[in-house]
């Protein structure tokens, strides 16, 4: 009876005081980009459920492209209504920031995703199987590799059109990630975009075992890092009594507003702050692929279907760096004398580690993976600048780098032999003689990676190094330039291999892609060259967008 009475009283208490819980005040208009993408993802799930198999591909592609384009238009609309500058504020009850960096990064992620969807939808590269055109994804993900069920699924012409809603879910999470303004939203967004990526990694049509191995590794390690992140969030809550960025920042600055009685013993304890901060940082550094949290990168990049690798390498990095910037510039600016030296160390080992290990790689996807690690180090140099120029240079670098990466991985999908993509570098020998155009395009991307002038890579690298040097990190810039020199070696080695080696007789052939992949590559080249030749407009845009709301 007592129990019943207690329950009853709980019920009645809740019912008696409805006005004590304020109804949340959500600015739907300002969250429109995220809402469109997530809504389209749900539509995609419904398509999978209700449309016949034959019609799903076209419907999914249509929904994805329209949703991403509409979301991008919404971002532009918000930016045009000054939400990036004068009207920047924190929306959704303090959960989501709508400001310059958030809009810039969301725009970049949406464009990257749009181009990536083109490569996802490519169906002309793999040979026709049983009269069906197939893409890079497994016929039926649940079928055991090499088993009877898989054969039956291939024969039936199944395709995994679920990749489109999965991408949209991931994009939705990525849109929230850099604009999350409290630690819980940050964590939720992280999981929302990570889980679909784990699945996508497992979906390769060829080398399925390797693909699944990559996915499992990614999942295990991702979960491991999420645990650190979550523990860090708990410690920070213990320190500040809140998970809101501004609230934590206030406590760090010594302006404690009101002490929660339950936390009286821990609040303001710097040990919690430092340990918790380091753990949250670690969670983000894992996503970025910074040394020593990078070890998943080569295996996952190699195992995942190449379109997914391209998308992941480009979009995840943008989202994660956005979140890192916000964390360091909004939550922990009062702590920068503590985190800067540590981040110095991380940036140095990341730049050198990525560049040095890449030197001996023999697989083009692993090579690009290590290259992405080195680039994460370069971007970290800009993050460490702790100046407005640092923010804008990182924004610019991310935009420039993500298109180069997408383009480069798209080219990788074209070079094929009987076993699918021919990713071993020795097979690329003499490619420039057989397919001068493809080799030349790849060379442009490699030069951009190497940071050669007139490519976006140079403009980006120059911007981050300049910001870092102005921010007092001259030594870091020196190490960055040395790493760039090491990195130039392996990029140029591939160019030498393509253009100055004899082609192998059993070498791969270059598949003729549909307009989808062609346009993805063309966009990559165009962005690379435009940002390289005339970067000023975009640098200005990035520097206009470079102020975080608090």
């Amino acid at each position: 009876m007592i129990h019943a009475a207690t329950v009853h009283s709980l019920w009645t208490t809740a019912a008696a005081a409805p006005d004590k819980i304020p109804s949340p005040d959500i600015e739907y208009g300002q969250l429109l980009p995220t809402l469109i993408v997530l809504g389209a993802a749900i539509v995609g799930v419904l398509i999978e459920a209700f449309l016949p198999r034959r019609q799903r591909y076209v419907a999914q592609l249509f929904v994805s492209v329209v949703a991403l384009a509409a979301a991008f238009a919404a971002v532009i609309g918000l930016a045009a209504s000054d939400y990036g500058t004068s009207k920047a504020h924190v929306a959704a009850m303090g959960a989501i920031a709508v400001d310059g960096p958030a809009l810039f990064l969301q725009g970049t992620i949406l464009l990257v995703a749009l181009v990536a969807v083109f490569t996802f939808a490519e169906r002309r590269l793999d040979p026709v199987v049983h009269g069906n055109r197939v893409d890079s994804f497994a016929a039926q993900a649940a079928a055991v590799p090499g088993g009877e069920a898989e054969k039956a699924a291939v024969k039936a012409g199944f395709t995994t059109t679920e990749v489109f809603p999965l991408v949209l879910f991931a994009v939705g999470g990525m849109l929230v990630f850099p604009s999350a303004n409290d630690l819980l939203t940050l964590f939720v967004a992280l999981e929302v975009f990570s889980l679909p990526l784990y699945i996508l990694c497992a979906l390769a049509r060829r080398h399925r075992a390797m693909s699944q191995e990559a996915a499992v590794k990614y999942f295990l390690l991702g979960a491991f890092s999420s645990a650190f992140l979550l523990f860090g969030i708990a410690l920070l809550y213990g320190y500040a009594g809140t998970v809101a960025y501004s609230g934590i920042a206030d406590v760090v600055d010594g302006q404690v507003r009101n002490v929660t009685p339950a936390l009286a013993g821990t609040m303001g304890n710097d040990a919690l702050l430092l340990i918790g901060g380091a753990m949250v940082l670690m969670g983000l550094l894992f996503k970025i692929g910074a040394v020593p949290f990078h070890m998943w990168t080569p295996d996952v990049y190699q195992g995942a279907p190449t379109p997914v690798t391209g998308f992941m390498a480009a979009a995840t990095k943008v989202a994660a760096f956005g979140a890192l910037l916000r964390l360091l510039y909004v939550v922990l600016p009062g702590l920068r004398w503590d985190w800067r030296p540590v981040m110095w160390g991380v940036a140095i080992v990341t730049m050198l580690g990525g560049a040095i290990v890449a030197v001996t790689q023999t697989d083009v996807k692993r090579l690009l993976a290590y290259s992405s690690i080195a680039h994460a180090g370069f971007i970290l140099a800009g993050v460490i600048a702790t100046t407005p120029d640092g923010i804008s240079s990182v924004l610019f670098y991310l935009a420039a780098y993500s298109f180069v990466t997408l383009g480069a991985f798209a080219v990788v999908t074209l070079v094929r032999d009987a076993g699918g993509e021919a990713t071993h570098l020795s097979k690329w020998a003499g490619l420039g003689r057989r397919s001068p155009l493809v080799a030349a395009v790849f060379a442009v991307f490699l030069l951009a990676f190497a940071g050669i002038p007139l490519t976006s890579g140079f403009a980006g690298k120059f911007a981050v190094f300049k910001a870092a040097a102005d921010g007092g990190a001259g030594a870091l810039v020196v190490i960055g330039v040395i790493s760039s020199a090491v990195a130039a070696f392996f990029y140029i080695r591939v160019i030498v291999l393509m253009f100055f080696s004899e082609p192998r007789t059993d070498g791969p052939s270059v598949a003729v892609p549909s307009p989808l992949t062609s346009s993805a590559i063309a966009i990559g080249v165009a962005v690379t060259l435009v940002l390289g030749v005339a970067p000023q407009y975009f640098l200005d845009l990035a520097s206009q967008a470079g102020v975080f709301v608090r």
Binding site: V216, K217, L220, L221, F224, S225, F228, D270, A271, L274, I275, G277, A278, M279, L281, M282, F286, V291, P292, F293, M295, W296, P298, D299, W337, D338, W339, P341, V342, G345, V346, G353, I356, V357, A358, V359, T360, Q361, V486, F489
Partner: protein, 646 residues
């Protein structure tokens, strides 16, 4: 009117673009296009000249800004032109003589299948040279300066199938680079001193800069002038440059481009006036070169090389005059103009002779040509009289003034310079008389019959073409008319300039003028000049007029042999510059191979080794990766805490 100035440069530039990009379609009419555009440029120059004469002498200068070239912060360099009396003089000389030489080349290059390209280069040269003299700042002048260097290189090596021509072109280009470095350093010094390159502010503020800086700028400008104007010590390229077609030698390597150094020094007069040490260097260079060139000219049997030595020597006079400061600027330019007439005329005459003699250049195989080529003989003869300073002809008026000005420098210096100039005049008379006698007088020494005293004169290796007997004939009218026009200029220009001191009054507002005080009266200097002139002519007559000339050169005295080798200029350069340079580069290559490459390769090898070891960490086990993450986080936390503790 101002807009016409840009057109002056644009018209020949258009010609160059048309002819060089137009392709074979224009082969048939390319030479007419080039010539018409050169003439158009001259007409524009003449219109501007008439307009300029219509204005008062102090507001004759025109200025025209075309566009802003390099705006960097507060600094700007414009593409802007300045047309004052000094530039005007050059414009008329360049376009006038240039047009005549275009006309001459129509005939001279008639049988060359690359004639269109030749005219394209000539137009390119005109455009660059006009840019050089019209620029209103040193940076734009530098563009023109390099442009004429390029055109000169292309034209010297025009017959690139001849290795000697290709080598000569390269030599000219490289030696000129040395001078160009001087000009670029001078421009940089100007920028650090004055913060601008524009003539007007640089020159009006020259007094305010320290003398040391001005001396440095002046010496660097002199180095530039030495390169372009073939003055000692950068004279070695001019003789070899005669490998180019003769019209090129006449236009570029006698009348116009090689005088760019004189222009540069005169234009920068304010700097030199304030830097006496630099001026002393200028007069020294001028005096040494005028003797050097004259001595070389005495020994050469190649008619063009003899004339090249003479060019060097005459420009030496101009440099000398320009180095004298306001006493000499006007006379330097006046001699430059008269020299432009008679030296171009002499070269065209030489070209006409070569044209008639199957491209033979050895004067010892000429002789007696006056009967066969009367027009050439007369025009060449008038040029000859002009250059030696025969009373009343152009050279007399201008050279005499320079000698006077040299004495007017005053003191021991004046005596030395005046003496050198006088000695130069005597040698000029000697070597020009020698050229005249060897070419047009005496017995004919051409033809297949070897003269009895020289049975084995023809070297066996000579090609069959050289054995066909030349049939000297007068050149076509397209060649003789320019020669006649230039001869008229050689005769009358100097007198015209001196009537009422017209040239002095014309140029004085730009360059300034002072009389100096001469220890000798003008009459005495003139009389002295006449005496040395007579001695020079008489010596040459005694040596080459009275006696038959051997078809092969006698061994000659030590000085003669040295002079034949250009007073050992190339040997000197070889020993003093080429050899040490080679040793230096060999040393550097050694250091590069052993040391630099060693370090580089060692670094690469160690990076590779490190990479090989590090990649082993990537063993594919998720547990290893997790440990790495765990360790990393631990270090991250420890480091953060440590930072706080420190």
């Amino acid at each position: 009117m101002e807009n016409l100035i840009g057109l002056l440069v644009a018209v020949p530039l258009l010609g160059a673009a048309l002819l060089l990009c137009g392709g074979r379609r224009l082969d048939g009419k390319g030479h007419y296009i080039g010539t018409v555009l050169a003439a158009a440029s001259f007409v524009i120059g003449a219109v501007l000249f008439a307009d300029m004469l219509g204005r008062g002498e102090h507001d004759r200068a025109l200025h025209s800004k075309v566009f802003s070239w390099i705006p960097v912060g507060g600094f700007r360099a414009d593409v802007a032109f300045q047309l004052d009396q000094l530039s005007m003089t050059f414009v008329l000389l360049i376009t006038g003589v240039g047009t005549l030489i275009h006309i001459y080349s129509i005939g001279y290059m008639e049988h060359d299948e690359r004639r269109r390209r030749f005219f394209g280069y000539l137009n390119l040269f005109l455009a660059a040279m006009l840019l050089l003299v019209l620029a209103d700042n040193y940076l734009l002048l530098y563009v023109g300066w390099e442009g004429v260097g390029l055109a000169s290189y292309l034209l010297i090596g025009f017959w690139q199938h001849k290795p000697s021509a290709a080598t000569a072109a390269k030599k000219a280009f490289i030696v000129n680079r040395v001078g160009d470095v001087g000009l670029s350093i001078a421009i940089m010094l100007m920028f650090t001193t004055f913060g601008t390159f524009t003539f007007a502010p640089v020159l009006t503020n020259a007094d305010h800069a320290s003398e040391g800086k001005l001396t440095a700028i002046g010496l660097m400008l002199l180095l530039a002038a030495c390169g372009k104007s073939a003055q000692v010590p950068l004279q070695s390229w001019l003789g070899d440059a005669m490998e180019g077609p003769t019209p090129v030698s006449a236009l570029i390597h006698a009348a116009t481009m090689v005088t760019a150094g004189v222009y540069l020094i005169t234009r920068s007069g304010a700097i030199f006036n304030a830097a006496p040490d630099a001026q002393a260097a200028v007069v020294t260079v001028g005096a040494v070169t005028l003797l050097f060139g004259a001595i070389v000219g005495c020994a050469k049997d190649d008619i063009k090389k003899a004339l090249a030595g003479s060019t060097m020597s005459q420009i030496g006079y101009m440099i000398l005059a320009a180095g004298l400061g306001p006493i000499g600027y006007v006379f330097a330019i006046m001699h430059l103009v008269t020299h432009g007439f008679f030296k171009a005329g002499l070269f065209l005459g030489a070209g006409s002779v070569m044209h008639a003699m199957n491209d033979e250049v050895d004067m010892r195989k000429y002789g007696g040509l006056r009967k066969y080529m009367p027009v050439t003989f007369v025009t060449f003869g008038l040029g000859y009289l002009a250059i030696i300073g025969f009373p009343g002809l152009s050279g007399f008026w201008s050279k005499d003034k320079i000698i006077e000005a040299a004495f007017a420098k005053g003191g021991t210096e004046g005596w030395i310079l005046g003496g050198a100039a006088l000695l130069g005049a005597a040698i000029t008379a000697y070597y020009m008389t020698r050229v005249m006698l060897l070419t047009f007088f005496g017995e004919k020494r051409w033809g297949t019959t070897p003269s009895p005293e020289e049975p084995s004169a023809e070297p066996a290796a000579e090609s069959a073409g050289a054995h066909t007997e030349p049939h000297p004939h007068e050149s076509p009218s397209s060649m003789t008319i320019p020669m006649i026009v230039l001869a008229v200029g050689s005769v009358f220009a100097g007198g015209l300039f001196s009537v009422n001191d017209a040239f002095l009054k014309w140029l004085e507002p730009v360059t300034g003028h002072s009389h100096g005080d001469s220890p000798l009266s003008a009459a005495a200097v003139t009389a002295g000049t006449m005496v040395v002139l007579a001695i020079g002519v008489a010596l040459a007559w005694a040596q080459y007029g009275r006696r038959p000339v051997p078809r092969t050169a006698p061994r000659g005295s030590l000085l003669t042999r040295a002079a034949r080798r250009d007073l050992l200029q190339d040997d000197f350069n070889h020993v003093a510059l080429v050899k040490p340079g080679q040793y230096l580069t060999r040393g550097l290559v050694y250091v590069d191979h052993k040391l630099v490459d060693g370090v580089v390769n060692g670094t690469a090898a160690s990076v590779g080794g490190l990479s090989g070891r590090l990649r082993k960490l990537q063993n594919g086990y998720a547990r290893t990766y997790a440990v790495s993450m765990f360790g990393g986080t631990a270090v991250l936390i420890a480091a953060t805490l440590l930072m706080r503790a420190v």
